[in-house]
């Protein structure tokens, strides 16, 4: 682009989406002196958009607002999504909320409770180190852990992660400790973690994106307990408010909420983007021109935006959708655990990710070369309305609310089981259901691989044994999504997992991937994808720290910066 042409642009880079991925890209680019306009479909409840960019005071300990009334969006009445297990379900099996992450300034980072582990070295080389599994399309990442390590370190520093770097025996190498020590352990997790240790497992204090001490001008967490699914009223969670505020402070960043990007606009060659078009709150259409576009709409909306814009091979965009197959193992205790105080999860364990002899034998019995489970989160249950809604009505309701088996006496393990990539799992447009803008609703077609189901079935009883060892008098387990044999007619078949990945895969072969190893689209190389859409595999870890680390890397390369290096 000539200097004269560049001078007429609205900004250097337009960033679509303000979640952890978009916020990271904006931070890197503005730090490098680039001007950035961020467009966000949802409302702004996170921070003032005028200096000094303080909190707006909209966030509160309010179960009705956050969990019952779609405060952070998207409202499924305005933006329904549909779901089907496979083509056998016809056009859809379910309409409504399908893995909705917030649509708001801050995206899902706003209300996540931020367990932020790194992936392990082998996660980037699963295909070459572990080999293929029939029916899945396991691929290596186009870069390795060693290349990403400095970005992980930077991601932990920017977000503000509290943790103990010596605690997890299975962790990948790291170049330094966490920026903050771990926060207080929840009582419930100390009970279950001690039991896990007695049975030979390796629980550790979870790295969380929550301040354990004052950090980055934000206070330490005061343990209010309204954490997962809520924003933090005191800004003790760093992701992504810290990144957005830093970007705004450079003076090079503007955030426009209520700005729904409808398409990436290509030039006459169709090989370069010249900006984006968006609808504002009044429904008026605008165009923003820029020399590059960062798409960070989350792994559900990113492929839809690319498809609408004619970017990427239409046979591949939207495919290889991955979640985590969640195995929920619940234990009811004869004493109160008060898991509703403090952060939602304070301990993790990686044992199912690194299969032991028992797991390997079970894998062989299931006809599989290996099992790759996921982190086990040690947590408890939530708030009173949630508990009440799960109880029957009548006298039983009042009796159980007094005893509080769920909110106060239940411990929960959530295994975030690795979800193997399959081309048939995908996001496309529903043929009939519409959103408020009159466009097709997004549709998921998804069924977990036999590996994921067998792995869940193997680990669930082992985790129940831990619950029993911890003192639970009753244990049971379920998976989300329900395994096929457990699916009741009319029941919600959608995965509750909010870890959504893989819909615009990156790789080294332009024929079978959407993005190149620097996360740029192969066919329109000034469009960069900065979210988990690019993940070739899901691993068994929460995706968000890796979203931030990969976005840091991709945006640094886009800005022409040198890739930093660290050594083990």
């Amino acid at each position: 682009m000539t200097d004269a042409a560049h001078a007429t642009l609205d900004c250097d880079v337009v960033v679509v989406g303000t979640g952890p991925g978009g916020a990271t890209a904006a931070h890197v680019l503005t730090r490098a002196g680039r001007s950035v306009i961020m467009l966000e479909k949802g409302r702004n409840h996170l921070l003032a958009l005028d200096a000094p960019f303080g909190p707006l005071g909209h966030v509160s300990n309010d179960e009705i607002k956050f969990t019952r009334r779609h405060f952070l969006g998207p409202d499924p009445l305005l933006e329904p999504r549909t779901f089907r297990i496979d083509d056998g379900d016809g056009d859809r099996r379910w309409t409504g909320d399908v893995n909705n992450l917030p649509s708001t300034v801050g995206g899902g980072g706003f209300h996540a409770d931020g367990k932020l582990p790194r992936f392990r070295e082998v996660d980037f080389r699963a295909r070459s180190e572990l080999g293929p599994i029939e029916g899945a399309d396991i691929a290596d990442w186009p870069f390795g852990y060693d290349e990403l390590e400095p970005y992980y370190t930077e991601a932990e520093r920017l977000v503000g992660v509290a943790g103990d770097h010596t605690a997890n025996p299975f962790a990948a190498w790291r170049s330094g400790p966490y920026p903050m020590p771990p926060g207080p352990d929840m009582f419930c997790a100390t009970v279950t973690a001690a039991a896990a240790e007695r049975l030979g497992y390796h629980p550790y204090r979870a790295p969380t994106g929550v301040n354990s001490i004052e950090y980055d001008g934000r206070p330490a967490c005061n343990n209010c307990g309204f954490c997962a699914f809520y924003g933090c009223p005191i800004e003790a969670k760093g992701d992504p408010v810290g990144l957005l505020r830093a970007a705004l402070h450079t003076g090079h960043c503007e955030i426009r909420p209520d700005a729904h990007v409808t398409e990436v606009v290509l030039d006459a060659t169709g090989r370069q983007a010249r900006g984006v078009r968006y609808l504002d709150a009044a429904g008026d259409l605008h165009e923003v021109t820029a020399s590059a576009v960062v798409v960070a709409c989350g792994a559900f909306e990113t492929p839809r935006l690319l498809t609408r814009s004619g970017i990427g091979n239409p046979d591949i965009v939207g495919r290889f959708l991955m979640y985590h197959l969640q195995t929920l193992v619940l234990g009811l205790f004869p004493f109160r655990l008060h898991a509703h105080r403090g952060r939602a999860v304070t301990h993790l364990m990686d044992d199912p990710i690194v299969p032991d002899e028992l797991a390997m034998a079970a894998a062989r019995d299931a006809g599989l070369p290996y099992f790759r489970g996921g982190i086990v989160e040690h947590g408890g249950a939530g708030m009173p309305i949630m508990e009440a809604m799960h109880l029957p009505s009548g006298e039983m309701h009042s009796r159980l609310m007094l005893d509080s088996p769920m909110r106060d006496c239940m411990a929960a393990f959530t295994m975030q089981g690795e979800d193997l990539p399959q081309a048939t799992n995908r996001i496309d447009d529903d043929p009939r259901v519409r959103d408020v803008w009159g466009r097709p609703a997004g549709r998921v077609t998804y069924s977990p691989h036999a590996h994921d189901a067998a792995c869940a079935t193997h680990w669930a009883p082992r985790l129940e044994a831990v619950m029993k060892e911890a003192g639970a008098h009753t244990t049971f387990w379920v998976t989300s999504p329900p395994l096929r044999d457990h699916l009741r007619a009319g029941a919600d078949p959608t995965p509750t997992s909010r870890h959504v990945m893989g819909t615009t895969r990156m790789g080294t072969d332009a024929r079978i991937t959407v993005c190149d190893p620097t996360q740029r689209c192969w066919d329109v190389d000034n469009v960069l994808v900065a979210d988990s859409s690019v993940f070739p595999t899901s691993t068994g870890y929460g995706p968000t720290l890796t979203i931030v680390a990969t976005a840091l890397r991709a945006a640094t390369l886009l800005a022409g910066g040198d890739a930093p290096r660290t050594t083990p």
Partner: protein, 188 residues
């Protein structure tokens, strides 16, 4: 004074919700918890300015800080569209019917309470249960809202005198005081 429901509907609703969340030992029933007021406030949300959909923040004042839950937040045009549709129904307006007509909660309560009968509150419990069971969809709607009204923040109209939280030993919103580390890590 109810704002949307008639006095008679309000009485029927209070009695119906009292069957769903009945008084038991230290647990007050839904009627005493003000659940019918919660539902009436929701159905009449748009008679307030701003509409009583999203309470303000960051603090209620119950655990320190200035009380601001009562300062309800203004809705965006799209949020207003969604909540009017949900509460009032689509009423044949094309903007509300992009996926077909929607029967709003106002209509569902009017019809559902009518179906229970104006004499519902005076019936014995067994008869009340029979009438509630005759319309499972309406019973489910009432139950959902009864749970919200019994255990949600009182600024939405229910949880009268914080009795819902008190009964179940729940402190409710605790910002900006929070909990001490000992309260998180120690056994009660």
């Amino acid at each position: 004074m109810p704002r949307f429901l008639t006095d008679s509907e309000h009485r029927t609703l209070a009695a119906a919700c009292d069957r769903l969340i009945p008084p038991l030992d230290a647990h007050p029933g839904a009627a005493a918890l003000g659940v019918a007021d919660y539902v009436d406030t929701l159905l009449a949300a748009f008679t307030f300015d701003p509409p009583r959909i999203f309470a303000g923040g960051p603090y209620s004042g119950r655990a320190g800080g200035d009380a601001s839950f009562d300062d309800f937040l203004a809705l965006s045009p799209l949020e207003e569209l969604a909540w009017r549709t949900r509460i009032e129904g689509s009423r044949g307006e094309p903007a509300r019917e992009f996926n077909g007509p929607v029967v709003g909660w106002q209509q569902r309560y009017r019809d559902g309470l009518g179906g229970l009968g104006a004499d519902f509150a005076d019936q014995p419990p067994g008869e009340q249960d029979r009438r509630l069971d005759a319309d499972p969809a309406f019973k489910a709607l009432c139950y959902e809202h009864a749970c919200e009204g019994a255990y949600g923040a009182p600024e939405y109209g229910g949880n009268r005198g914080l009795a819902g939280w008190t009964a179940i030993h729940f402190a409710g919103d605790v910002q900006p005081r929070g909990y001490t580390d000992e309260a998180v890590s120690g056994r009660d």
